[in-house]
Symmetry: C2
Subunit: 601 residues, 2 copies
């Protein structure tokens, strides 16, 4: 059975040394964030994830969730008890608003907890994870009454929440949805329709579940301009806050999925269920996007969590399993064979995993800082700057992280050889679980179009120009340190490729938008390389400084420098290939008629 130990040390390095979170103490909610508080929180969250959630990960996969004939759903053995502990300890409310009982701490710290939960048990992590989105949407668009009714218990974790977007025929294209909302005399709406893929749609973890549901009011406009958002509780809430009547909604089935079996993914039937409009009529998509952006970052972190877990187990196996001899001669001549970590190809997979998980962690936690800065920075300019950058990075954190997380899980399974394919070893579960983050909350193709079609051109390219300047400045600042110069130069080369690709879009996408669509996914990957490269430059800078100062753990900082060099040497060259692929444009891609594909072609 695989093991999981929360990456406490690396997390503390990123927060305290790279981001230096306590230096933001002038922001609201950051006042009390000292390195000591951070260390305690990270360690305690890590302990909870490793000790309580990790042992349930294979249980959830094996036993899944059970729907009973009456429509109730039981989660896998141990989940309910673990959730009670989770809620009791307040792990779900770290960065939720203090106004509704949350701890109001920086999002970076909330992201740390998310990563640990997901690494230990992604299926478990999804239950509270969805509630975060529900809280954001209600906090942003709900009435005061709605906020008072739902937020305190959602924030405390006493209740959980869901997002109901997808219908069988309407996924990415929400404009096609058919769920209906009929206004009632009492100001509520009667919601009817069937939603699919609803994570945590029904379960036994909490006594109430607050559904946020997209539906169309009568005579609403066609397409995405006619969508409204409703709050639809499983149990109606009485004026005194106690639970009232059971609403007319139910779980029709649990989806049979490739992985994530511990998460109850439900088909939800709404049959004139009582709901209330959240925000303005026909503005549901905008309200939902508040949830979606938070959820997209969360999905990137899910990928990171699973990749970290896979990487740890790949490492353990590579250190223990003995097969063959090092190419340079027996490493342990007294044993019959060397541990496979001596083989360069096994190293390649482990170093890729190390460079990616550590780099992507830094990126995710930095994006957490940006979430707070976008709301809380002192000046409107600073808030705008953070918001620009966050908008640009959100599809990268979601798309690039989940692509590389899946690749990491696959590689770590590969380290196990044939054993990797056998269920009992647990590596194949990581692969199955790591697959879904590439798909949900907008497929990675949708993320790529969000990045290239929306975020790049927005405000005349203000955000991407600011990003380029930021990276350029950090590269320039690194040139004087011989430990960093080569790393910075290679990052500069990758950045040059990204600039060239951006320019190519500028020159070729106006006349033919397919040229943008054709290269968007490659551009997402290219920006992923530059973003993670930037993180490695930052980490290397800290490591170089600490080593020069003779400060602390030499081996740890040397490993950081080596891994930064590895990323620069072996993982940035792809940037050039991506640019050239983008510059091939859409002509050959779009030339064939639909009939030319498959066996008919």
């Amino acid at each position: 059975m695989p093991s999981y130990i929360a990456p406490v040390r690396d997390t503390r390095f990123v927060i305290n040394e790279v981001i230096d979170l306590s230096s933001y103490s002038d922001l609201p909610g950051f006042e009390s964030v000292t390195p000591d508080l951070i260390d305690t929180l990270v360690e305690e969250a890590g302990r909870f994830a490793s000790e309580v959630l990790a042992p349930l990960n294979t249980v959830g996969d094996r036993d899944g969730c059970t729907r009973h004939p009456d429509g109730t759903v039981t989660t896998a053995p141990g989940f309910k008890e673990a959730y009670a502990q989770f809620q009791q300890a307040g792990w779900g409310s770290i960065s939720l608003p203090a106004a509704f009982g949350g701890q109001g701490l920086p999002h970076t710290l909330g992201f740390v907890v998310e990563e640990f939960l997901d690494g230990a048990n992604i299926a478990f992590g999804l239950y509270p994870g969805l509630a975060v989105g529900a809280v954001s949407a209600l906090a942003a668009a709900g009435t005061d009454e709605q906020k008072q009714t739902y937020l305190p218990k959602l924030v405390s974790g006493e209740w959980l929440g869901t997002m109901n977007l997808t219908e069988a025929h309407a996924g990415t294209d929400l404009g096609l949805l058919r769920a209906k909302a009929e206004p009632q005399a009492d100001g509520s709406y009667a919601i009817s329709g069937t939603k699919i893929f609803i994570s945590s749609g029904e379960h036994d973890l909490t006594e109430n579940i607050i559904h946020l549901v997209l539906a169309k009011t009568p005579n609403a406009l066609e397409g995405s301009k006619g969508i409204s958002l409703f709050v639809v509780p499983k149990f109606l809430v009485n004026d005194d806050g106690s639970l009232g009547a059971r609403n007319t909604l139910s779980c029709g089935a649990i989806e049979h999925k490739m992985g994530l079996n511990g998460s109850a993914t439900c088909v939800m039937n709404y049959d004139n269920a009582k709901g209330w409009l959240v925000g303005e009529e026909n503005r549901g998509l905008a309200a939902m996007f508040v949830m979606m952006n938070a959820a997209r970052l969360a999905v990137g972190i899910q990928g990171l969590g699973v990749a970290e877990a896979a990487y740890q187990n790949g490492t353990n196996y590579a250190r223990e399993r003995r097969q063959g001899r090092a190419l340079t001669g027996p490493a342990e001549p007294n044993e019959k064979a060397d541990p496979i970590i001596v083989h360069p190809d096994v190293r390649r997979m482990l170093m890729n995993a190390k460079a990616l998980t550590e780099g992507l962690r830094a990126l995710a936690l930095w994006s957490g800082v940006l979430v707070d800065l976008a709301h809380k920075a002192k000046t409107p300019e600073a808030r705008q700057e953070a918001d620009d950058l966050l908008g640009l990075l959100t599809p990268v954190v979601k798309g690039y992280t989940t692509e590389k997380a899946f690749a990491t899980a696959v590689n770590m399974q590969q380290v196990y050889g044939g054993h990797g394919y056998i269920k009992e070893w647990g590596m194949e579960q990581f692969v199955r679980d790591a697959r879904i983050p590439m798909i949900y909350e907008g497929t990675n193709g949708v993320q790529a179009m969000d990045l290239c079609g929306r975020k790049l051109p927005k405000d005349g390219g203000r955000a991407i120009q600011a990003f380029f300047k930021l990276v350029d400045d950090e590269i320039a600042a690194a040139q004087d340190d011989p430990q960093l110069a080569e790393i910075a130069t290679r990052l500069g080369k990758a950045l040059g490729e990204q600039k060239a690709a951006t320019m190519w879009f500028l020159q070729n996408a106006m006349t033919n938008p397919d040229n943008l669509g054709a290269g968007a996914f490659n551009y997402l990957e290219l920006m992923g390389i530059v973003s993670v490269g930037l993180m490695w430059l930052r980490m290397a800078k800290v490591a170089s400084r600490k080593l020069a100062a003779g400060d602390g753990d030499k081996a740890f900082y040397e490993a950081k420098l080596t891994t930064a060099r590895y990323f620069a040497e072996r993982m940035t060259p792809e940037a050039g290939a991506l640019r050239r692929t983008i510059e091939a444009g859409s002509a050959a891609m779009m030339a064939l008629p639909a009939e030319a594909f498959g066996t008919s072609g």
Copy 2:
């Protein structure tokens, strides 16, 4: 439920027009191979695969194989009946030796049948697939008596065979194995030990199963020089060919796998089972390698089959599923949304799938020609040349095909969005099934070391130099055709990268073999790009000629030209990145101590 239609048309194109198989009619076994025979065989094999095997693919996945308390194993419903039809029709003996009742037809045709079986139902395909290896090993190293006893019934498919290599602690490093073979007075050996991951180790498809087992005789040398090969039938065979006593071997368990559930992967216990030495004592690994090389090509073809099946279903879904609008304006304004095939990112995945499956098919079928030429070409020089090329291409067909097949299955699952993650749609099965070919018969890392450590330097680099000349010549010959010039030039650029990487190995691997190991996997990918690029140049050449002659199906040949261009423009640029990655060498990769990985680092 996914569907499968054998790619009959593309297969005929490759065999009749690109390879021109009937032009080899002067080779033994090729005399009767006319385009008519090829067409009939391909169509009939395709029909059998699509009609009989494809409907059982999801059944096999869902129901798996059942081991009963007495150690017998039942395959999934329908498998036994399908196998009876398969055997009756002689689909297993296409390219098996005529001397033992096989049809003695070209391996290319045998490979076609394999691809169709694997595409329709990879788990089914594995049962007869393993027998091919057993036949090769016995034919190459067995005594006349062994051949007479086992080969006719293995060739006819009346019996099936297995390869027993792996033990729990001995996978890639077979030198560690512990199974024992004690010589007996009657000339047989008593085989004892436990083997794992044994495909088709026990089942109900045939009345007898012929196991080929690696074991060590008493006082055998340590390591791989002390391994011998034994033939160990499930039922002993009487002198008259009838079945005798049940041998003392049994299936201890069926492995719980990520996929390939229809295939009975067994733990096999040998308890003083009666076996006979095949070939010389201590030379078992050499004899086994005869099986392994055939099996490696077969595994590449498995990957291709699954990728083709996934590609077909991805195509169907992309043509039917409607979401959103084309970037260039509504393609079907009268519908509420366009089919998703209008979206460039969906196209990207489909074009990748088309370029890879068609290119890899051409490569696999060409390697089939080389198998025959290596044995049957008229002159020793021609045989040597084919053997050199085949040795070089075998790890590429195994490694590169299975990497790209898995990537294709993942992409085609992605085309389905959320539905791709749901079992009922069948796409996730392709991903799970396509995962194992990257692992077994030598992981792809092992393939990469076979290519770079063994095949490149062999005979002073004779094979790779011949490959370079071959590609150079075909590029040069294409320059005069304006349809081909650009495609050829881009292939030339990729070839230049491969030459540079080869030179870098030459200059840097002698002093430090880790430099070879560090770049081997990247080199495998690089050579894969060049090899598939060569196939696309060949296919484009035929298409250009046919179009110029106004010959036949214009749309088909135009699609070939467009896809060749797509591959050249969008899939060869990676070659440059791979070279630069190789040139980074092993320093950063190998620098860290083992403790620097995982949470301890």
